[in-house]
C-alpha cells in the first residue's frame, strides 16, 4: 500500500522529521551509555554525517524519475533537431504560420463572438424593437411614453431604457467642434450596469423635464479637451442651441465604455415627460432592456408582446398596430461579422490541417530513414513506448517553438485587427491574452499528436526490428500508400479552400462590373451639425438647409449640391407600404424604399430623369419621384405622373404626395444589391444633420477646406465634419467583403503551395527510393520518357483523386458562402472548373521536376553503387 504523503512538500517535510527522529533516538542511546546530553547530541550529529547530503539524495529519488525523463527526451530531441537544421526550420516555419494564423483568427473570434459584451452579465441585455404588425412601416424606434409604459408594465425585465443620437456642435473652444451626443432615457447606465469612472450618474431631477442640465463625457473627450484633469467635473460645455446652452459635466465614463458607438462623446438625459415627447406616434428611441436573471429572451419577448397588447386596448391608434421583437444586444452588435469570422476560422483551420499532413508526410519519410536508429534502440532493449515518446517529443519541441513564433504572428495580427475598427465591431477588444496563449498551446499539442503520432507508431512497428538484419536494400517501400494518402488530403483541402476563395473572387468581379446607376466620382460628402430639437420648427430648418445649399452652389468649383437622408451606395433600407390614389389592394402590398432628397440630388449623383421633372428648389414633401423599378412593379398600366401616393400606415409624418417624375434605377442600397422600388420625397431636411453631397469640378477633397470656411461664415455655431468622397463610402461599404476575399485568397494560395510542396517532396523522395529500380529498368532498355510518364502519372493520379474529393467537400461546404456571394451561385460551374484546371496544372508542374530528375540518373552509376 502506498503511503498517503507523496506530494513534494510532504516528502520534504517527511524527510526532515524522519532524520530528526533518527538523530534524537541516537542521542538518547548515547545518553543511555552515559554521555552528557550535549555530548550525546554532538556525537549523534557526527555519527549521522552530512544531513543536507542525505536529504538531497532522498529528494533526488523522488524528482529524478519524472524530471530526468523529460529533460532527457527534450535534450535528445533538440540534439536531433540541431542535426538537421533545414528540416527543423521548414517545420517550424510551417507550424508558426499555421498556428499563428489560427491563433490570430481565434483571438478575433474570441474577443468579438465568444466573449460576452463588456457589460456585467452582458447576456441579459437585449434590443427591443417595435414593429408594424402588417409590415407597413420599417420604423423600429419607440416613442418615449411607450418606452416608459413597457418599463412599468413588464414582469421580465430589471429595467428598460433607450437612446438616440444627435450630432451637435460644442462651442466653448475657439472653433466649433462636432460632438456626438447620446440622448438617453432614464435608467440608461443602470440598464447597462456601468457607472462613471469619475463623478456621478444623473440624478432623478436631471432626468425630468425642466430639471437642471447635466452631461456625462466620454473618456476620449475628457482626454482630448481636458487632458485627463479631474477638475473637469463641474466645468460647462456649450452644446447646440438648446435650453440655455450650457451643460455642466457631472461625470466621466470609463475608457472601455463606447456605447452605442465609438464616436459617442457625451451622454445627456432626454426627459420622457417633456411636452413634445407625449405623442404616441413619435419614433425616437432605440430601446435596450436588461432581462431578469434566468429569463429567456423568448419569455421576455412574449411578456412585452402581452404588455403591448394591453396598450393596444388602451390606445387603439397607434399601439394596436404594433408588436415587439427582442434581439440579443450582442447579436445586434456582432451579428453582421460572425459568419465572416467563422469562415476565416474554418479556412485557417483547414490550412493548419494541410500543414499538419505536410509535416506528417515529412516525418514519415524521416521515419523510414531512421529505421536503422530505431531498430538499434529496440535491440538495446528500449520499449516501444519509450521510442514513441521520444519521437513525439521531437515533434512537440518543434510545435512549441512554432507556437511561440505563432504567438508573435498573432500579436502582430491583433494590431492589424485594430486598424479594421470601422468594419469590425469590438475590434479594440482583440488582444493577445492568456486565452489566446492557451489556445495556441493547445493547438501545438493537437498538432503534435496529429502530425507525430501516426509516423511514430508506424515507425516503431514490431516487425521493424528485423530491418537491421534485412539491410536497406529492399526498401521499395510498402509505406507509399500512406504517403500518397497524406498528399491526397493536402490536395483535397487546398481544392476546397481554393473553391471558396474562387467563389468570393468571382463575386467581387461581378460587383465591379455592375453599373451603379449613378456616378460617385467627383462627389464630396459631409455633414453639418444639428439637433433633433430643431425639428420642432420645420419651416425654419428647411429654410436654413436650403440657404446653405444655395450658398454652396455659389462657390467656384462646385457644380451642384444637395442633401439626402442617406448616402447612395451605402446600405440603408427603409421600406414603407404605400397606396396609390388612396387604394389598397388586399394581399398585394405596395412596398417601396423611402428616401428623402433635396432639389439637385439627381443632378449631383447623376441619376437620369426619365419622365417629368426632378425635385426643384420650391418643391415640398408632397412632391414625389419614383424610380423605374417602382413603376414596372406597381404601375404598369397607368401613366404614373400626377397620381397620388400616400403611406398606408398610421404614420402621418409624410402627407400625400403627387408623383412629379420618374428617375432611372440606381443601386443606392449598395452595389451588390439590385435596385428596389423607391419613392423619393422632395425634402431637404429629413434629419437635422443630413448628408450633404456636392458635385465638384475637380478633386472633391480639395474643396473641403473652402466649404468648411463658407459654412463657418454663414453659421459660426455649427461644425462641419465627416468630409469624404462618395467613392470612399462605397469602398468602406465593401471593406469586409474585400478583406474576407483577400484573406481567403491568401490562405488558398498558401494551401496550394503547401500541397505542391507535399506532392513535390513525396515524388522526389520516391524517386530517391526507387533509384535502383529505375536504374535496372534503364539498363534493361526502358526509355527515359516512359519513366518520366510513370512518375508524372503517379503524381497526377493523386491530384485527380484530391480534386474529386475537394470538389465534393467544396460542394458540401459552399452553402456557408451562399449569403456572401453576388451574381453567381455557390455552385458556380466556372469557378469549380477553373479551380480543378489550376490545381491539375500546378500539380503537373510539381510532379514534372522530380519525375525528370528521377529518370535522369545514370544506370551504370546506380548499379555500381549498389
Amino acid at each position: 500500500m502506498p503511503s498517503q504523503d507523496q506530494s513534494p512538500r510532504n516528502t520534504s517535510d517527511n524527510i526532515d522529521r524522519e532524520i530528526a527522529h533518527h538523530i534524537e533516538t541516537l542521542t538518547e542511546a548515547n545518553i543511555a551509555q552515559g554521555m552528557s546530553p550535549e555530548e550525546a547530541r554532538h556525537q549523534a550529529l557526527v555519527e549521522f554525517g552530512g544531513r543536507e547530503q542525505v536529504k538531497q539524495s532522498v529528494r533526488e529519488v523522488h524528482v529524478s524519475a519524472i524530471a530526468e525523463s523529460i529533460a532527457f527526451h527534450l535534450k535528445a530531441a533538440l540534439r536531433f533537431l540541431r542535426k538537421s537544421p533545414s528540416f527543423t526550420l521548414a517545420v517550424i516555419l510551417t507550424l508558426a504560420l499555421g498556428i499563428g494564423a489560427n491563433s490570430a483568427v481565434f483571438s478575433a473570434i474570441d474577443a468579438v463572438v465568444l466573449r460576452p459584451l463588456p457589460f456585467p452579465n452582458g447576456d441579459q441585455l437585449v434590443r427591443l424593437d417595435q414593429h408594424d404588425i402588417q409590415g407597413r412601416d420599417a420604423n423600429r424606434f419607440v416613442a418615449p411614453v411607450r418606452l416608459e409604459d413597457w418599463n412599468r408594465l413588464n414582469s421580465t425585465f430589471q429595467s428598460i431604457s433607450g437612446y438616440y443620437l444627435d450630432d451637435l456642435s460644442e462651442t466653448s473652444g475657439p472653433l466649433p467642434e462636432k460632438v456626438t451626443e447620446i440622448l438617453v432615457a432614464p435608467r440608461f447606465l443602470e440598464t447597462l450596469g456601468i457607472s462613471p469612472a469619475l463623478g456621478r450618474q444623473f440624478t432623478p431631477a436631471e432626468e425630468h423635464w425642466g430639471g437642471p442640465n447635466a452631461v456625462l463625457i466620454s473618456y476620449a473627450l475628457w482626454q482630448r479637451r481636458f487632458h485627463g484633469d479631474p477638475d473637469a467635473i463641474g466645468k460647462e460645455l456649450h452644446i447646440g442651441s438648446r435650453r440655455g446652452d450650457s451643460f455642466p459635466i457631472v461625470g466621466v465614463m470609463p475608457a472601455s465604455f463606447q456605447f452605442p458607438s465609438r464616436d459617442a462623446d457625451l451622454w445627456a438625459p432626454s426627459a420622457p415627460d417633456a411636452p413634445f415627447a407625449k405623442r404616441r406616434d413619435a419614433t425616437w428611441f432605440t430601446v435596450i432592456g436588461r432581462m431578469k436573471p434566468n429569463i429567456s429572451i423568448q419569455q421576455a419577448q412574449a411578456d412585452l408582446i402581452t404588455v403591448q397588447n394591453q396598450l393596444g386596448k388602451q390606445y387603439a391608434k397607434p399601439d394596436s398596430e404594433l408588436t415587439v421583437e427582442a434581439t440579443p444586444l450582442k447579436e445586434v452588435i456582432v451579428g453582421g461579422v460572425r459568419s465572416s469570422l467563422w469562415l476565416l476560422y474554418g479556412s485557417v483551420s483547414l490550412l493548419l490541417l494541410i500543414a499538419c499532413s505536410n509535416i506528417a508526410a515529412l516525418l514519415l519519410a524521416r521515419t523510414t530513414e531512421r529505421e536503422h536508429e530505431v531498430s538499434i534502440r529496440f535491440s538495446l532493449g528500449a520499449s516501444r513506448k519509450a521510442i514513441v515518446v521520444q519521437l513525439l517529443t521531437e515533434v512537440f519541441a518543434l510545435a512549441m517553438i512554432g507556437s511561440l513564433v505563432g504567438l508573435l504572428v498573432a500579436a502582430a495580427a491583433a494590431r492589424g485587427f485594430h486598424l479594421l475598427a470601422k468594419t469590425l465591431p469590438r475590434a479594440e477588444e482583440i488582444s493577445l491574452n492568456w486565452r489566446v496563449a492557451f489556445y495556441s498551446l493547445a493547438a501545438a499539442l493537437g498538432t503534435t499528436l496529429l502530425c507525430g503520432l501516426f509516423p511514430a507508431l508506424r515507425g516503431t512497428r514490431r516487425g521493424l526490428a528485423h530491418t537491421l538484419a534485412a539491410g536497406s536494400r529492399t526498401q521499395v517501400s510498402a509505406r507509399n500508400p500512406l504517403q500518397w494518402a497524406l498528399v491526397g488530403v493536402q490536395v483535397t483541402l487546398a481544392v476546397t479552400l481554393l473553391i471558396g476563395a474562387g467563389l468570393l473572387l468571382r463575386s467581387l468581379q461581378q460587383i465591379a462590373r455592375v453599373d451603379p446607376g449613378f456616378d460617385p466620382s467627383h462627389v464630396l460628402t459631409f455633414q453639418i451639425s444639428g439637433s433633433w430639437g430643431e425639428t420642432a420648427d420645420m419651416k425654419s430648418l428647411i429654410q436654413h438647409v436650403n440657404r446653405t445649399l444655395d450658398s454652396l452652389r455659389s462657390l467656384p468649383g462646385v457644380v451642384d449640391a444637395a442633401t439626402a437622408d442617406s448616402l447612395p451606395g451605402v446600405a440603408f433600407l427603409y421600406p414603407l407600404e404605400f397606396k396609390i390614389d388612396g387604394k389598397i389592394e388586399p394581399g398585394h402590398p405596395l412596398l417601396a424604399n423611402s428616401r428623402y432628397v433635396s432639389a439637385g440630388y439627381v443632378d449631383t449623383v447623376q441619376i437620369p430623369v426619365l419622365v417629368g421633372e426632378a425635385c426643384k428648389p420650391d418643391s415640398t414633401i408632397s412632391d414625389i419621384l419614383v424610380n423605374r423599378a417602382f413603376v414596372s412593379k406597381y404601375m404598369k398600366s397607368a401613366s404614373p405622373v400626377g397620381h397620388v401616393l400616400s403611406e398606408a400606415a398610421y404614420n402621418d409624418f409624410a402627407p400625400k404626395g403627387i408623383i412629379r417624375g420618374i428617375v432611372g434605377d440606381a443601386r443606392e442600397q449598395g452595389l451588390n444589391t439590385q435596385p428596389v422600388p423607391t419613392v423619393y420625397s422632395c425634402f431637404s431636411a429629413p434629419i437635422p444633420f443630413p448628408n450633404y453631397l456636392v458635385r465638384t469640378a475637380g478633386d472633391p477633397m480639395a474643396m473641403a477646406e473652402t466649404i468648411r470656411r463658407r459654412i463657418h461664415e454663414i453659421d459660426p455655431s455649427r461644425s462641419v465634419y465627416a468630409f469624404a468622397p462618395l467613392q470612399q463610402h462605397l469602398d468602406d461599404a465593401s471593406t469586409e467583403n474585400r478583406l474576407r476575399t483577400t484573406l481567403l485568397a491568401l490562405f488558398a494560395a498558401t494551401a496550394v503551395a503547401l500541397a505542391c510542396i507535399g506532392l513535390y517532396g513525396t515524388l522526389s523522395y520516391l524517386g530517391r527510393l526507387r533509384q535502383r529500380e529505375v536504374g535496372v529498368r534503364l539498363a534493361l532498355g526502358a526509355m527515359r520518357n516512359q519513366i518520366v510518364a510513370r512518375f508524372l502519372a503517379q503524381g497526377l493520379r493523386v491530384a485527380i483523386i484530391g480534386c474529386i474529393a475537394g470538389v465534393a467537400l467544396g460542394l458540401a461546404l459552399s452553402h456557408f458562402l451562399a449569403n456572401m456571394l453576388y451574381g453567381i451561385t455557390a455552385l458556380d460551374p466556372i469557378t469549380y472548373a477553373s479551380v480543378v484546371c489550376l490545381i491539375l496544372f500546378v500539380a503537373a508542374l510539381a510532379s514534372l521536376i522530380p519525375a525528370i530528375r528521377a529518370a535522369s540518373i545514370n544506370p551504370v552509376q546506380v548499379l555500381r553503387d549498389e
Partner: protein, 112 residues
C-alpha cells in the same frame, strides 16, 4: 571482526537487507540501521547517506510502504513495512542471492 567499508557492500545488497529487516515487522529508519548492525554482529554498518535514499527508492517502487506512528521512545517516527509486491521481490532476491553466494563459494572452494 572489523566492520566492512561501505563500498564493500555489493550493489543491490542493501536493498535485500532492508527488505529482509522490514519483513520482520514495521520498523523505522533508525531501527533498520540498528538491526542490520546487531544481526551482522557489527560487521555491516549502514551509512545514513545510503539508508534513507534506499528506503525512499524502495517505497517508490512499491516494495515497502510507510506510515507515521509512535516509536518506543514516544516520538513520531516513520514506520516501514513490507508490501505484497515487496514480499515477492524479497523472495526473488533471496533466491538470487543464495544462488550467487553458492556459486561464488563453489568457485572459491574448487579453485583452492
Amino acid at each position: 571482526m572489523a566492520p566492512l567499508e561501505k563500498t564493500d557492500l555489493l550493489q543491490g545488497t542493501l536493498d535485500l537487507l532492508i527488505l529482509k529487516v522490514v519483513a520482520l515487522g514495521p520498523v523505522h529508519g533508525y531501527g533498520i540501521a540498528q538491526r542490520i548492525r546487531q544481526i551482522s554482529s557489527d560487521v555491516l554498518q549502514v551509512q545514513q547517506g545510503s539508508l534513507y535514499p534506499a528506503l525512499h527508492r524502495l517505497e517508490k517502487r512499491g516494495w515497502i510502504a510507510a506510515d507515521w506512528g509512535e516509536s518506543e521512545n514516544n516520538r513520531q517516527a516513520r514506520f516501514y513495512r513490507l508490501s505484497a509486491k515487496g514480499r515477492k521481490q524479497l523472495a526473488a532476491e533471496e533466491e538470487t542471492w543464495n544462488r550467487l553466494s553458492k556459486a561464488v563459494a563453489l568457485i572459491l572452494r574448487t579453485a583452492e
